[in-house]
Amino acid sequence: MKPPILITIMFTMVAGTTIVLTSSHWLTIWIGFEMNLLAIIPILMKKHNPRATEAATKYFLMQATASMLLMMGIIINLLHSGQWTMSKNTNPMASTMMTIALAMKLGLAPFHFWVPEVTQGIPMSSGLILLTWQKIAPLSILYQISPTINPNLLMPMAIASVLVGGWGGLNQTQLRKILAYSSIAHMGWMAAITPYNPTMMILNLMIYIIMTLTTFMLFMHSSSTTTSSLSQTWNKTPLTTALILALMMSLGGLPPLSGFTPKWMIIQELTKNEMITTPTLLATTALLNLYFYMRLTYATALTMFPSTNNMKMKWQFNTTKKMILLPPLTVLSTLLLPLTPLMSILD
């Protein structure tokens, strides 16, 4: 699309999220969400095929419903507390509605069905924005209302998300669907810790965004959207192969890579709050996630898939794709574990 239009749309999208992040009046928060939604629809439809139309429509319907539910919660809150600011949300009905609305926006189970469909229908760069930038606004609201969230509502959603994210991704070969299920599972981890220590949710969000950005950019770099095309990266860019190996292990939460830090911190906070079976369940189910990341690693770096001879002799051109900040992001998404004490700056 033409550059001026793209800049306007991007600006609206960023402005929408910024308005959500910085406002204390519930109405402006809702306005920010709507700005964000309307601006991202053209981005989801960068390629004009029916699949993208279907994905954009599903996304719009889902998010609009969630925004309406959020507005309902806001109005109930207005009714019971008499004011529009974010600080006092003590009415349980309002809090429940807001939590469910935010869960729908994030793609937490049982409202997760749209995430794989939408992510699959859109180009990789739009998927990148969908799975990283779009999570910031709902999670910031979740952070701000976290003292009043009913844990009995959020914890089952979180556990169900991790389970769905693990089992759903097992049968996928399309990379975008794999990343969608990965997003569902990570959102589950983030939701699990929000009632107890929202700082860890921010930590998990930061590390998740860094890792997912890197993953998407590496996949875009090798122009692969399926596992079998990913298995040809050893010939196109051998370095990407090694990076995908390290990154998949980090996404799966293997020490000593940085993907382990949020899991460790979340388990620590949950055990401090006397919950033992929940972190055990979450941690063990995250191994399902690790299984399909390992499968990607096997396909890319550790084995050579059957291919024709033409595929084995490719020219290695300089890339012309925009890989913004890929090296620093890669380093951050794998080597951040020794800097764990640094996260106290998030408080």
């Binding site: 190996l245 292990m249 293997l254 020490p255 000593p256 382990f260 460790w264 388990i267 620590q268 055990t271 401090k272 033992i276 972190p279 055990t280 941690a283 063990t284 191994l287 690790l290 299984y291 390992m294 096997y298 770096a301 550790l302 084995t303 574990l337």
Partner: protein, 459 residues
Amino acid sequence: MLKIIIPTTMLIPLTWLSKSNMIWINSTTHSLLISLISLSYLNQFSDNSLNFSLLFFSDPLSAPLLALTTWLLPLMLTASQNHLSKETIARKKLYITMLTLLQLFLIMTFTATELIMFYILFEATLAPTLIIITRWGNQTERLNAGLYFLFYTLVGSLPLLIALLYIQNTTGSLNFLIAQYWVKPISTTWSNIFLWLACMMAFMVKMPLYGLHLWLPKAHVEAPIAGSMVLAAVLLKLGGYGMMRITVLLNPLTGQMAYPFLMLSLWGMIMTSSICLRQTDLKSLIAYSSVSHMALVIVAVLIQTPWSYMGATALMIAHGLTSSMLFCLANSNYERVHSRTMILARGLQTLLPLMAAWWLLASLANLALPPTINLLGELFVMMASFSWSNTTIALMGTNIIITALYSLYMLITTLRGKQTDHVKNIKPSFTRENALMALHLLPLLLLSLNPKIVLGPIH
């Protein structure tokens, strides 16, 4: 401790910046020099005061394991030269980097004070091992082997993380040197039973315990020689070391919880020894013999007497050297015949007499011939388990007989008898291979002169 960690880390730039005809020489020499540094830690003071910093310490249990780990890296590099000779230079450097990274994590694991750091590095050793097995193994079964290895260990160790964090919240610190003084006896409630299980299952899987040992034959057989060496010699000992550390925090519940695992280990050591008698695959035989020896270590750690701890430590070091040597010998067969089937390469004594001498000595060490430290370990464990319960002597004695049986079976099948036709044109033994076997055997024989180094913290 940094005087070992930083040189080991710098082995990686050394490998990548060396000329292509110097990579093996540089990395082997420098890793030998690093192992000489670690030998200085064997000089332990009697008041267990060898603390280097808040993060690292060394006591009579971890110092021999550290020396074993650092000694093994040059041996692994020496053993890998042949099967990597046809690879590109970048892949050779990558392999050496993986081995060095694994070495680094292992060094830090054995000397960590904080149990969470121990956990992180314990898990970190999985990734380079997985890469070595899956990328450089030889058969298609290696894919399954890598996955079994990774997931068995991870499913066992995630509850360990949660248990460690719980213990940190209740006891206040997981620094091992402090926690052993602050520990309170834990009673027999359901939640404490699960705590005990969560703490111990990770190490049981790693040892491995008999019922959870399915990953081991796969991983050992499919790994290339350096992978098999490090798996058998050091990674299994991580389980034993971890168990000896964590049981400090788990008394007196261990007295009751240990029974099922003792039964599994006692029965398992006989079962796996017996399976060795029916193996056709040479590496699989050595892998099952590892399970059998480690079952002895599990029995020793679980009955928690001073003699059994001494026996467990001695057995770990002895088995590390012996098992690694047996894998090197099996690999020297594999590189010539390109098959691991035992009966395909028979009668090697007339063709390779010096290698036959190494085979003999390794098998004699494996069956715990006096005065090797293998015997010392097994004898101490046997005596301790006899005092724990008189009936175990029957099982232990049967195990010793069957161990002798399969070791001699392996010896006779590979060395004696008429040669098969296709071994008549194998290459003679390289000096590198003879040096490798000598370097494995020399510490083992020297330790039989002064075994108190490897007898652990009780001595």
